[in-house]
């Protein structure tokens, strides 16, 4: 995956987290979403569910994005 594709997936993920919608598909708060090259591969209730969907779609570990639909929480390291 190129850097540009990663950035694109990250942008889409943040869009989904804030708008709860992408290309006509609605997303529930708390659900996990699998993305690859700008395409939603699937959703599930756990990381493991979505990880399996990605594997079944031929996307091996190390590739593909998984995120949970929620408001971004800033991290602080004191």
């Amino acid at each position: 995956m190129s850097t540009a594709e990663q950035i694109d997936d990250d942008t889409i993920a943040h869009m989904i987290c804030t708008r709860r919608e992408y290309q006509g598909q609605r997303f529930e708060r708390g659900e996990f979403v699998g993305l690859m090259n700008g395409r939603v591969i699937g959703t599930g209730k756990t990381f493991e569910e979505v990880d399996t969907l990605l594997l079944n779609a031929g996307i091996p570990h190390g590739l593909g994005m998984v995120f949970q639909v929620e408001e971004p929480v800033p991290h602080v390291i004191r």
Binding site: Q6, G62, M65, V66, F67, H75, V76, I77
Partner: protein
């Protein structure tokens, strides 16, 4: 209830976390500094190299402020602490460990979100009076 006790390392509270690559039975052990002042959704911070080597999936980037600042990549990793059970897939922030000026031998941070996975955590003295960090499940 099961507890793991880690003697202080260079007078600092640390934990030993085993990180695994996909399909590997055994992983590599990393020593992480316990930092309850590290807050946010993500409870682990590891080097770019470890996150690249052991990432299971990419996660969304996140904003970090404080000792390091900016937008940081996050990854999902498989990890464990022998004898303690907890959700084995965790998110970790990928960062330049040198920026944090951690002592030699420390490979990253374990923050409040990670500690909150356990029933009890904290510093205690062993029978000889030496400090150790305790995680109990």
């Amino acid at each position: 209830m099961t507890a793991v006790r880690v003697p202080y390392f260079q007078d600092l509270p640390t934990i030993l976390l085993t990180i695994k690559s996909s399909g590997e039975a055994h992983g590599i052990v990393r020593r992480l500094l316990v930092d309850s002042g590290f807050t946010g959704e993500c409870g682990l911070l590891l080097s770019h190299a470890d996150c690249s080597t052991f990432r299971k999936r990419i996660a969304t980037a996140c904003d970090v402020s404080g000792a390091i600042q900016g937008v940081y990549m996050r990854v999902w990793i498989s990890c464990s602490i022998p004898s303690l059970s907890f959700p084995s897939t965790q998110m970790a922030i990928a960062a330049d460990i040198l920026e944090l000026a951690l002592p030699d031998g420390i490979d990253g941070l374990a923050g409040l979100s990670f500690l909150s996975l356990f029933r009890r955590w904290g510093a205690e003295r062993d029978p000889a009076g030496k400090w150790e960090f305790v995680l109990e499940k």
